[in-house]
Structure formats: C-alpha cells, structure tokens
Amino acid sequence: MSILVNRDSRVVIQGFTGQHATFHATEAMAGGTNVVGGVTPGKGGGSHLERPVFDTVAEAVRETGANVSGIFVPPPFAADAIMEAIDAGIEVIVVIADGVPVQDMVRVKRYLIGHDAIIVGPNTAGVITPGQCKVGIMPSHIYRPGRIGVVSRSGTLNYEAVEQMNELGLGQSTSISIGGDPINGCDFITILERFEADPETDAVLMIGEIGGPQEVDAARWARENMSKPLISFIAGVSAPPGRRMGHAGAIISSQADTARAKMEALAELGVHVVENPADIGTTIHTALAGR
C-alpha cells in the first residue's frame, strides 16, 4: 500500500508538452510511473513521449481512465487547470506551479467543496511512492521503498530528511510536499489521516516551518486520532519576525508562529520533536524503537 499514488495510478500531465513537464514526465516514466497521456489545449490528437495528447482533461479521463494529474502549467493558468481536473473527476491533483495568486486558490478551495479530489500544492515538489509512482519534480533516486510516511511543506527539506532516513535504513511508504503557500490544496491533517489508515506506514515524519497554525492543528488532531508515532521538525528557529522566508506562508506574524513556540506546543501534544535538523533520521529511529 501507500497513500495517494501507487503502481496502479494512471497519471495525466497537464501542460504536457512544456519543457519542465517533458523532463519530469520522462524521468517519472523511466522510474515506472504509469503516465497515460497529457493535456495541452490546441495540441489534442497528437502524441508526445509516445503518449496521447488531449485538448481537455475530460477527454483524457474518458480515453485513458486517468485518475491522477500532475499540473505543470504556468501559475496564471493553474487555478483553471486545477478546477478542470476536479470537474473531470481526477482523484489526486498535484500542482507544481510556484506563484499561484492567493485569491485564485480561495476560489479553487470553494470549487472543491462537494468533490472528493485531493489537491497537493501549489508550489510543491510533489508526491512519490518510491518504486511505484512519482508525480512531481523531486529526485526520485534518493527515495527508498519503506514504511515511514513523510509530509512536508518544503521540497528540499523533504530531500534532506529522506537522505538521513536512508542512511539508517528507513525507507518511505509515500512522501509528499504540501507546498509553502498561505493557502494549500490540502493540509497536514488530510495527509496524516491517510497515513494513519495505511497498513504499510508505521510512523509519520511531519516537516513544518514558521508561520501559520497548521502544524499545531495537525498535532492536536493526531493526539486524538492517531496511533502511529508522529515525528516533527520545524524549520526557522533562527528566522527573524516579520520577514517572509521565501515561502509566502513562512512569516512570523505572532508569537505562536515562531519555530520555538510551535516545537513546544508539538512536544506537549506528544509529538517527537526534532531539535537539530541533522537529527531528523535518528529521531525517527528512536521513536520507532520506543514503541
């Protein structure tokens, strides 16, 4: 098992014929991901990377049975592409675009009500179930099949954690970056729910940052609803207040937003908190040993 994507996922790429999409779709296919086709409006009827190209997501779903989408269109067109995927019945929508206007996401989240789709991103490195399926831009060769679920806001910090885990022989069931924007398609809790229900995940690593209530909300949820150990690192202990650290969401605007305050709140809620970013792997190891 795993969550969100696996070897049975049928992946369609929106913005298929673009440069980034081509590069990452090629890499994903080489790693075994079942890319069934792509969408580039105006190029329908053609083929790309030996896969059919469609004008609309609805057509792609009808012709290929696609149930997962990777959205590689530029930020100004991302919201429309997401809603098109929702409308077509896609179950998991991964939005790579970085720089989607916040109000566009407000509308997308409203449109999502009443649909069962899960949106990952925007501004995400994507989702990978090692050895089975990758929808995103992460270097798949660093991921190893295993039993630890990983969920982060950041992409590169996800890679860092995974490398540390590999050294200790800890592979990943599925790894997800939910993205660093103020309004995400899905939150930590949505992902934690699925990891809790996944029989092949033994523990979950949640990598957070300064800014926003998401991590603490997730820990509160986990205390009531999760039996598996939750390990967490919060980046930004050394970040000054009032400055936006790259991610639009990473800004300390109140005392509760600081990394220190979040770490303390998480520890009180029973989360295994990582103090030093170099100790992410060993803390997971200790948490598993202590079960």
Binding site: P75, P101, Q103, A125, L157, I183, A235, M245, G246, H247
Partner: protein, 390 residues
C-alpha cells in the same frame, strides 16, 4: 507588495470610498500651498512611509495654520522617521500627505484580509478604532467581529449589516457602512489584495463615514495582471540588495550574522540557518537560489552575499532535485575565480548529478572545504568563520 497611504486613498477614491480631501507634497512650500488650497482651520500632515506606527513616531502632525503645516512638512521631509515598526534606523520621508483635519465623533476599525484558517476572504471590524488591532485582539477579543465571504456569492449586504450592527453603526450610518464595505471588498477582489485596512474609519461632522487612514498590501504573484498596481511600487521603501537579488531570480534577506548562506529551497535554507545557529554561529542572510539554478545565478548569489561586509565565510548547501549539482559547481568555480573570494567557502552538494558536481569541484584546484552532510557543513562553516576571525 505594500503601497503608500496616499496611493491607497487614490484607489479608495476610484471605488467611491469616502476619504478626506488631501494633497501629497514633496516640499515645505508645496505643503503650505496645499493647506491654503484645501482651506479650513486645521490640517493633518502625515509622513508617507510604508511602515506603520507613524503616529507614535511623530510622523502625524496636527497643524492649526498653513505656516504650521509648512513647518511640520519641513521637519518631516528629507529626514528619517523612526516608528515602532521601522527599526532604529527609521525610514527616509520623501513626501507628506496634507489633509483637512476632521471633527471625529466616533472611530472604528475595518479590514479585509485573507484568513488562512478558513481560507476565505474575511471582513474584520471593531468599535475600538484607532488602536493597534493586535492589542485589541489580545486584550478585548470580544470587541472584534468577523464575517467570512463565500467566493461563490461574494460579500452579501446582510453580512455588512451584521458587522455594522455589531460595532454599533446605527441609523443613517448603517447604509453608508454597507456601501463602504461592499466597495472596499470590490477593490480587494479586483486588485488581488492581501490586506485592505481602514484604521480609523471615522464618523465625522454631518454623520458621515470617512476612511481617515488606508493601508493596502497586494499579492506579488498576481502583479502580472495588475499593471496599475505594479506602477505603485516604491523601490525606495525596499532593501536595494533584496531588489537586486529578486532581479537575478534569487530570494535574499539580509540578517545580522557573519556566515553567508547560499541554499536551494526556502525550507532547507531555514534549516541551514538553524544548523549554523546550533553550532554557535550566526547566519548573515537567508538566500534561496530556487530551482533550475544556472552557473551564472550561483555566481550572482556569491556576489550578493559578499556585498555584505560582515560575511566572514560562506556555506553553500544544495540538495538538487530540479537543480543540477554540475551546474551549481560550475557557478561556484566561476565565482571563486572571478570574484577573488578571500573568505572560506564550505560546499555541500547532494542530489541530482552530485558525482559530476564533485568532479568539477575537485578538478578545479580551488581552495574550499568539502562537506557531505548538513551538520558537517554547518560545523565546518562556523569553525572556519571563527578561525578567520581569530
């Protein structure tokens, strides 16, 4: 993207949101002429800088003659204004807004913002006008009311009436408040705002509602569709180095330590700063090179970091996914050769094309410290900086 109060009030006027008559001026003589032109007996002179807390810093002056207006403008323009939000250096004042002073009967707080928790555009109001809303929220949260907007139908009249009634706007003020809120919401939506704040919203002579202050912040990611808002950007209000970095596709924020950081990804950049701090060092900056960094971009990152005279060493930490370690290595080699870098440079490479990256570094014959892991890299950088200082 923030704009000045006078610019926000221009936008308010375009949306028929009532604001006081005013003139923005660049000199004391112009201020005098503006006061005479506006007429009346009392005026308010307001320094135009992006930072808040201007009142507390002496940047808002009431004057009872045109000559006093001139004096206030003379004192403000060309000098630096220190407020609780500017830091001790303050911000240079280049212009002031001169307005007729108002007889204020009552003050309110009104804002529209994007609430991250509900993920909705949200109206926030309070009868505690003219005060810092954070203080009100901390001390008297019951005085703050909120209405969340369903994007499918927009802000509804009844929601505005609920807000107006809750803060005590009655009689003829109630329909005025409804109109004002709906117009402010329209502006917020049309221009992709992140914040529109009116503090205070005042009841003035003749039972009229007037926006005495105006603050707006816009979504940088939406500027591509907002040419008129983009034109309002004032680069003088921004750190010139951060502006330059943005031009090179780099996200740079100056800090006050001595270990320069060059990292890919905001999360890893923060974690790298944290690792430096854990080893007893102090990061000189946050710098995210982003994805697909070319050798040229890496070389530019070195240049920008080294413009900070406090930097005594550099830690480059790249975990390449969409990036390529070989390109990064080429950039490092180019930077060290061309920029005659004298401070120690610690390099940690991982991810895509890492072997090729190290090959380029090793065959360059240049002097640098190699690190395989984040912790090792941070430790080496802190030690190198301490060694260089000794």
């Amino acid at each position: 993207m923030n704009i000045h109060e006078y610019q926000a009030k221009e936008l308010f006027r375009r949306y028929d949101i009532p604001v006081p008559e005013g003139r923005v001026v660049h000199s004391d003589e112009q201020a005098l002429a503006a006061a005479e032109d506006l007429g009346g007996e009392r005026w308010v002179v307001k320094a135009q800088i992006h930072a808040g807390g201007r009142g507390k810093g002496g940047g808002v002056v009431i004057a009872d003659s045109p000559e006093r207006v001139r004096q206030a403008a003379d004192r403000l323009i060309g000098n630096r204004l220190v407020t609780p939000q500017t830091g001790s250096d303050g911000r240079p004042v280049q212009r002031v807004l001169v307005e007729q002073a108002q007889e204020i009967a009552q003050e309110f707080y009104l804002a529209i913002l994007i609430d991250r928790v509900s993920q909705r555009i949200t109206l926030v109001a309070s009868d505690a006008g003219g005060m810092e809303i954070e203080e009100v929220a901390a001390r008297e949260p019951q005085r703050i009311v909120r209405e969340r907007v369903d994007p499918a139908v927009g802000l509804l009249d009844f929601q505005c009436r609920k807000i107006a009634a809750a803060v005590g706007l009655k009689g003829t003020l109630l329909p005025q408040a409804v109109k004002l809120m709906k117009r402010l919401y329209r502006l917020f939506r049309d221009k992709d705002a992140l914040l529109a704040e009116v503090n205070p919203l005042a009841v003035v002579a003749g039972d009229r509602l007037l926006a005495l202050d105006a603050k707006m912040d816009f979504d940088g990611n939406a500027l591509y569709r907002l040419p008129d808002i983009t034109d309002l950007r004032d680069f003088d209000e921004e750190d010139p180095k951060e502006v330059e970095a943005t031009g090179h596709g780099l996200n740079y924020i100056a800090l006050d330590g001595d270990v320069g950081c060059i990292v890919n990804g905001a999360g890893l950049a923060m974690a790298t700063m944290d690792a430096i701090a854990l080893h007893g060092g102090r990061p000189a900056n946050f710098l995210d090179v982003g994805g697909g960094a070319s050798p040229e971009k890496i070389a530019n990152a070195f240049r920008i970091v080294l413009e900070d005279a406090n930097v005594r060493g550099i830690l480059l930490n790249i975990f390449a996914g969409i990036n390529r370690c070989d390109w990064v290595a080429e950039g490092i080699v180019r930077a060290i050769r061309d920029q005659a870098i004298e401070v120690p440079v610690v390099v940690r490479l991982a991810g895509t094309n890492v072997a090729e990256g190290w090959m380029i570094m090793e065959s360059s014959g240049l002097d640098y410290l190699r690190a395989e892991k984040l912790d090792d890299a941070a430790r080496k950088a802190v030690e190198a900086v301490k060694g260089a200082a000794a």
